[in-house]
């Protein structure tokens, strides 16, 4: 029975085109094949498989670590360009991935919209006639009632309408159907997938994502040039970023001090003051799971670290750099590396490469023992020469170009220590340690659309899986003084017919007998 029902709904019978029909015939065949259920299954399987490589290879624009792809290039110099040609570092933005999901969505629309039309017709047409042999249908039962056919059928109509069935009473039988909402749910579910795509696409096309690191006391202004990294699409309006500025007032980080998980972060909050275009100034606290929302642009705290404060003097005794320098953590205990550059130093430019350890080991080791600030140490290597900063290409603030420089000194420094460079080239003092916070800043104008799509998707899916579309027939035939009543149903879904309706129908029809006994006519 179920199979019959399925066949009726299944459009996977894609007939091969007849040889006599050219042009349109092939087109129609292609369309029928594309929109068949079998194609849907194959495309779904393909989509799942196509998503796999991106989870193993580093991805551009999606990974947390922007250096992952360059690093992979360095480690696999021959293989990487080939993978790149196949878009394997951009799997989810690749043409072949797009091809699969677009085909799937086309197939789905082509499959589901005709069902929409069919549903409309079915809702307006009468429920189907009872099959000749009711005994072959689900939950078939037969009872005899001392009454006449008319009253039995009237009563059955009443009961079924009360239970929410669409009912028609025909000569000798009652036809009823229920659960059309299931199809509505199914449609809603599938169409909301399209809406979801619209939401995701508008976020990608109109929004942006960026990162900025701020040391204690630093101020960030929302313009593209303040970002350490900014990813935008062709349609992002870079000159129309929401105007605001944010100052990091303080950062509070705590770590588990003991136990098996010593060193795991326990608390991690940033206190900021932000200034909006209309001149209002407010303070706020940003924590993981608690971003700051400024007119739709959101700031998330994604990481933190240390920024040693140093003062650099040049050969003339002039201060050429002073303040915190952001050092990027390279492992969980916050051993961090960073550089200090003093391009204005006289007579020669100065550069320093450093390793910072918040909790230095008691020996000479160069790995921090704990993420908290217990025994900070700054290991510096000093260079003199040409930093190469005035030649063209912008440089990273986290690296020094060493080709024009000469190493002149090295020192492990504690807070307060100074390093005097040879030949009176200058000095550097380690004044103290500040913290910095890493912010992810995002603007996604499509996310409300996606949220609405997700809600529809959930409602549609639940409806389509929970509600069982089903038919019930009641046939009454005279047999002498009594009426023989047959009841049966059919489930139009893969799940069984819920027996409750048939049982109740039987019970209520049998009760006609009792009332008859009580009031003999």
């Amino acid at each position: 029975m179920v199979d019959e029902a399925l066949k009726e709904r299944d459009q996977s019978k894609s007939p091969t085109p007849t040889r006599t029909v050219y042009g349109w015939g092939w087109g129609r065949w292609a369309w029928r094949t594309l929109t068949s259920m079998r194609t849907a299954v194959i495309l779904l399987a393909l989509l799942a498989l196509a998503a796999i490589p991106g989870s193993f290879l580093p991805q551009r624009n999606v990974a947390t670590d922007p250096a992952a792809v360059p690093l992979f290039y360095r480690d696999h110099p021959t293989m990487a360009p080939w993978l790149d040609r196949l878009f394997l570092f951009d799997v989810y933005a690749s043409p072949w991935f797009a091809a699969v999901y677009l085909l799937l969505l086309v197939s789905m629309t082509g499959c589901v919209l005709p069902r929409c039309a069919k549903l409309w017709q079915e809702c307006r047409a009468e429920p189907t006639r009872a099959p000749t042999r009711l005994s072959r249908m689900d939950g078939h039962r037969e009872l005899s009632v001392q009454s006449d056919r008319g009253s039995v059928l009237r009563r059955a109509t009443e009961i079924l309408s009360r239970r929410g069935y669409r009912v028609v009473q025909a000569p000798g039988e009652v036809r009823a159907e229920k659960g059309y909402v299931r199809e509505v749910g199914n449609l809603m579910f599938h169409l909301s997938l399209l809406l979801l795509l619209v939401g995701m696409a508008s976020g990608k096309l109109l929004g942006f994502e960026g990162r900025a690191a701020l040391a204690d006391g630093d101020t960030f202004t929302n313009v593209e040039s303040s970002y350490d990294e900014f990813s935008r699409s062709a349609l992002t309006r870079v000159d129309e970023l929401t105007p605001f500025s944010v100052t990091l007032d303080g950062l509070d980080a705590e770590f588990a001090l003991s136990g098996a998980r010593a060193g795991e972060p326990r608390k991690f909050d940033a206190t900021v003051t932000y200034l909006q275009a209309d001149g209002t100034e407010k303070s706020a606290s940003i924590k993981p799971n608690q971003p700051l929302d400024i007119e739709g642009t959101k700031l998330f705290l994604t990481g933190h670290g240390y920024a040693p404060r140093v003062t650099v003097r040049d050969g003339t005794g002039e201060v050429v750099f002073a303040g915190p320098v952001i050092f990027l953590p390279i492992e969980n205990n916050f051993t961090s590396d960073g550089v200090v550059k003093a391009p204005n130093a006289q007579p020669t430019q100065l550069g320093f490469e450093g390793l910072f350890l918040p909790t230095a080991p008691t020996n000479e080791g160069d790995r921090s023992q704990f993420p908290g600030l217990i025994a900070p140490r700054l290991d510096l290597t000093a260079y003199t020469g040409d930093l190469g900063m005035d030649r063209g290409a912008p440089q990273s603030v986290y690296a020094i170009k060493l080709d024009g420089m000469e190493e002149v000194a090295q020192k492990q420094m504690r807070v307060g220590d100074s390093l005097e460079l040879p030949d009176g080239a200058g000095s550097i003092t380690f004044d103290g340690v500040s913290r910095f916070a890493n912010f992810q800043i995002a603007y996604d104008p499509g996310k409300e659309i996606s949220l609405v799509a997700a809600i529809f998707l959930m409602i549609g899916l639940t409806t389509s899986l929970l509600i069982r579309r089903r038919r019930v027939w009641v046939r009454a035939t005279d047999s002498g003084p009594t009426v023989t009543v047959e009841i049966a149903g059919q489930s139009l879904t893969r799940r069984d017919l819920p027996p409750a309706d048939l049982v109740r129908l039987e019970r209520e029809l049998l009760s006609l007998n009792e009332s008859l006994e009580r009031t003999p006519s």
Binding site: D10, L44, S55, F300
Partner: protein, 304 residues
């Protein structure tokens, strides 16, 4: 005794009673085999005999005046229900000890996960003669709990800040509930696929169980993924970023969607569809185990 300690003891108690149930299921299977072969030998309880007998499960619908094998299996099932209660109590005690939803690390996933599997199994048991597959399901739960107490064990501790959110309870909770049902469905699909011979009646039953479980679990999983996206939006500023964990959640979802479609496709019902159930489950497991251990990504709470 502290709540944490109580929870640990309850896990051990759960394992003991489940081990007993496992043995009884094995005995029941052996009884069934000997009876079928018409050999009135004493019950064979070696593991080898048990597994060779495994596939005979479900070939015969329960009979009136239940034979010994049925009775033994029923006793085992009662023990499983007790195991479920103990396991749930262990989870509860752990939650009280930690003062949060007790699913914040791999150890906790394992003990809540086994509760979910047992729950799905017991729920299925009330409608289908699933106890004939008990040995597989309970074996799986025992492996899960066994690895929980040996390699995954972590004392009660606070959460790392990124996980400290009520979304953890919602998102991971939903994922675990659907995981329980997916697991049992994977067992029924696997028996359907890997047990040789034609047993249309048995296959039909297995398929109905798998289908019923997946129809239940699929929307719950969908909800878990959506809740995860909402949480990701709140925590990282984007609701979907193709992080490995998100990617494998998506792969799982698509495989199960393919399963549901295959069930409605002429010629794909039955064994072909069952393959999708297995594929979906492998993706699901990989997400919980493989991604945590080997792939990494933003969801770096692996904290094994």
């Amino acid at each position: 005794m502290t709540w944490a300690r109580l929870s640990d003891d309850l896990v051990v108690a759960t394992m003991m009673i489940l081990a007993l149930a496992f043995c009884l299921y094995a005995v029941s299977m052996a009884q069934r085999t000997t009876r079928q072969r018409g050999v009135a030998k004493e019950p064979v309880t070696t593991p080898a005999a048990a597994s060779s007998a495994a596939g005979d499960a479900l070939e015969h619908p329960p009979e009136v005046g239940a034979p010994w094998s049925e009775r033994t299996a029923r006793i085992a099932s009662v023990m499983v229900v007790m195991g479920l209660v103990l396991n749930a109590a262990a989870v509860l005690a752990r939650g009280i000890a930690a003062e949060r939803a007790p699913w914040g690390n791999m150890y906790e996933f394992a003990i809540v996960g086994s509760t979910a599997i047992l729950g799905a199994y017991v729920a299925g048991l009330s409608r289908y003669p699933l106890h004939r597959l008990g040995i597989w399901v309970i074996g799986l739960v025992l492996v899960t709990l066994g690895s929980a107490v040996t390699v995954l064990y972590t004392p009660v501790d606070a959460l790392i800040p990124v996980l400290d959110s009520y979304w953890l309870a919602i998102h991971v909770g939903a994922a675990i509930v659907s995981g329980g049902a997916f697991t049992v469905a994977a067992v029924t699909s696997a028996v359907q696929l890997f047990r040789p011979g034609r047993h249309p009646e048995r296959d039909e039953m297995l398929e109905r169980v798998s289908y019923g479980l997946i129809v239940f679990a699929f929307p719950v999983w969908t909800f878990a993924v959506i809740a995860g996206a909402v949480w990701a939006e709140a925590a990282w500023g984007r609701y979907w970023g193709w992080d490995p964990k998100e990617t494998w959640a998506f792969i799982t979802w698509v495989f199960y969607a393919a399963y549901l479609h295959a069930q409605s496709t002429a010629g794909w019902k039955g064994k072909r569809a069952a393959w999708f159930s297995i594929a979906g489950y492998i993706a699901f497991l990989f997400n919980f185990i493989g991604v945590n251990m080997w792939v990494g990504g933003l969801h770096s709470y692996a904290g094994v």
